[in-house]
């Protein structure tokens, strides 16, 4: 197949399929072992400076904020992040100086709430670099190819646009149809962190509601940290195995973090904390405000439970839970 055109974006997170197989063989245990640990240990053990990281969920929905805060607290540096509809997570990680390269499908915005002042400032000043453009569909297909153990996957988007020109994809003539087709490179992130509703101590994880791209993301990752609303007995998982999205052997760490998606939404549990998000968006208009926010909510606390007290504790979470549950009231 001759290459018709190549995107000029930097190829990040790609791994030769044979190298990945070898890595999996050596590092991913198939043994049923207890993987419970603290957020602190999970981050220090599995996330290294310079890693290519990706976060589960979508935007502010079902995001592992406890891990995001801990990455900032441990001052990880030179991380490359998958901007796959990355919203609050990437805004904080770029603002705090942890992430300085991003492959962007959707980043630096908060959907309806407006653009992200802090991370945009970092991009516009050159402190954080957009290394490649991509689309939401193409990003999850990178992970799909990564989990399939193949080097690329063909798709029919991006053609004719600058999104393609700045991507790491290549365009060829399809040997079957004779038409142009885009080859999207696979991705095997160094570390992925996903927040789920329940997991057992081995890592078997169940998600309620849409799974976004967490099925593919979990299976393509080299290291996978699971945070969950609750750790349940293995029997709970085995009773309804059809609810399991991620089986244990993909998982390297399991951490129970109740309300761990705050200020994001956790479907069927609690809704967005709009007050808190607005406060961040207001404060992050200046570098000074970013410092103040991080000092208070990240550096100033030792873990997620202390953070929860600061944002209003159980009382606040009860309110957010009421908002969420009202949405599911029968009409």
């Amino acid at each position: 197949m001759d290459i018709i055109e190549e995107g000029k974006g930097k190829l990040v997170g790609w791994c030769d399929p044979d190298e990945h197989r070898e890595w999996v063989r050596k590092n991913k245990s198939r043994a049923l072992v207890d993987k419970r640990m603290s957020v602190k240990d999970a981050v220090s053990k599995f996330i290294k400076d310079g890693d290519f990281i990706a976060s589960g969920g979508f935007g502010h929905v079902r995001v592992s904020m406890a891990i995001v805060y801990e990455i900032i607290r441990q001052k990880k540096r030179n991380l490359i992040m998958a901007g796959k509809t990355a919203v609050h997570d990437i805004d904080l990680l770029v603002a705090s100086g942890c992430v300085n390269e991003v492959e962007v499908a959707y980043s630096f915005g908060h959907e309806l709430r407006g653009l992200s002042p802090a991370s945009r400032r970092k991009v516009q000043s050159g402190e954080c670099k957009v290394v490649a453009e991509i689309t939401n569909a193409a990003y999850q297909w990178r992970f799909l190819a990564g989990m399939m153990g193949i080097p690329f996957i063909p798709a029919r988007n991006m053609m004719g646009t600058d999104t393609f020109k700045k991507s790491s994809a290549k365009m060829v003539k399809c040997p079957f149809s004779g038409k142009n087709i885009v080859l999207i490179p696979s991705a095997n992130p160094d570390v992925v962190f996903i927040h789920v509703h329940r997991a057992d101590k081995y890592g078997n994880s169940q998600i309620e509601g849409i799974i976004v791209e967490d099925f593919e993301l979990a299976r393509s990752a080299k290291r996978l940290i699971i945070t969950c609303e609750e750790i349940v007995d293995e029997e709970v998982i085995r009773e309804k195995p059809y609810h399991t999205t991620i089986p244990f052997y993909f998982v390297d760490a399991v951490v129970e973090v109740k309300y761990g998606s705050h200020p994001g939404n956790m479907p069927y549990r609690y809704y967005f904390d709009e007050e808190h998000i607005k406060m961040w968006l207001d404060m992050s208009k200046t570098d000074d405000g970013v410092e103040k926010y991080l000092d208070k909510y990240v550096y100033g606390v030792s873990d997620f439970s202390e953070y929860l007290k600061l944002i209003g504790g159980e009382e606040k979470m009860k309110k957010l839970s009421d908002i969420e549950k009202l949405n599911f009231r029968e009409e």
């Binding site: 653009l115 689309t135 600058d162 849409i210």
Partner: protein, 254 residues
């Protein structure tokens, strides 16, 4: 005639581009409101699909995110992005809504960057699912603000494909059949000339003149000799709109 806000007019017009019994890919903001309005008025069998995986929901109120729990409220399926994007690629999605920071005469749009890509003047969020929607849906409806520097002859960055460089542009690029169907702005509604695939004025909103249309564009718009006035929202639609967005998140506080 009922009193309405400019955003309510946009939502009403956007809703009226849809059809009952068809499917629509929906993003945040106005598109969500338009699809919900259509579903609650003339298109009860409109199939709403969200890119994060919500299929066929009946959202009780306006979702804030394309992935929040309201996007699969009483849905027929809570699925995944791989599933719905594949559905779009294989032809199951008729309509797709898009927002845009800038548009050119062939309906290509930019939501990535203003200024140089390497050294951006303003960095915007990027494609998100927009390029996918523009590549895969049979008909895209673009809702945006019309100003001189947003309606341009050529874009510095094409995020999402329209007709690329004119007739046959999509086919040459390798894209499937589809492309922009309507562009809706605060001034008027546009479609695309069948021959040239260039932006053409279809209707102007009440109180807007052809001069206003021209003064707020730096591209040459095809203006037919006879241009209709956009249809205004009826009382029922306005009530539904206020029900969908009671806090005025998108419609605007009164």
């Amino acid at each position: 005639m009922a009193k309405y806000t400019p955003t309510e007019l946009l939502a009403y017009i956007a809703a009226s581009t849809l059809e009952d019994g068809k499917s629509v890919f929906v993003g945040t903001g106005l598109p969500m409101i338009a699809a919900m309005l259509a579903q609650r008025t003339f298109a009860p069998n409109l199939l709403i699909i969200f890119e994060a995986g919500g299929i066929g929901p009946k959202p009780p109120v306006l979702p804030i995110s394309v992935g929040d729990s309201r996007t699969f409220y009483r849905a027929v399926c809570a699925s995944s992005m791989h599933d719905v994007m594949s559905q779009a690629q294989s032809g199951y999605i008729d309509y797709g809504f898009l927002g845009a920071a800038m548009i050119d005469k062939y309906g290509n749009i930019n939501t990535t960057v203003i200024g140089d890509w390497e050294k951006p003047k303003v960095r915007l969020p990027g494609s998100g699912g927009a390029n996918d929607i523009g590549s895969f849906c049979f008909r895209t409806v673009i809702i945006m603000k019309q100003e001189k520097d947003k309606f341009v002859d050529r874009l510095n960055f094409i995020t999402t494909p329209g007709y690329i460089d004119g007739p046959n542009g999509r086919k040459k690029a390798g894209l499937s059949e589809g492309g922009p169907y309507r562009v809706i702005t605060q001034l008027g509604v546009y479609d695309f000339d069948e021959e040239t695939k260039r932006l053409r004025l279809l209707s102007i909103h009440p109180g807007v003149s052809i001069e206003d249309i021209k003064n707020n564009s730096s591209m040459e718009i095809i203006i037919p000799s006879k241009v209709e006035v956009s249809k205004e929202p009826d009382e029922k639609s306005l009530n539904v709109l206020r029900e969908i967005d009671p806090n005025g998140f998108v419609i605007g506080k009164k």
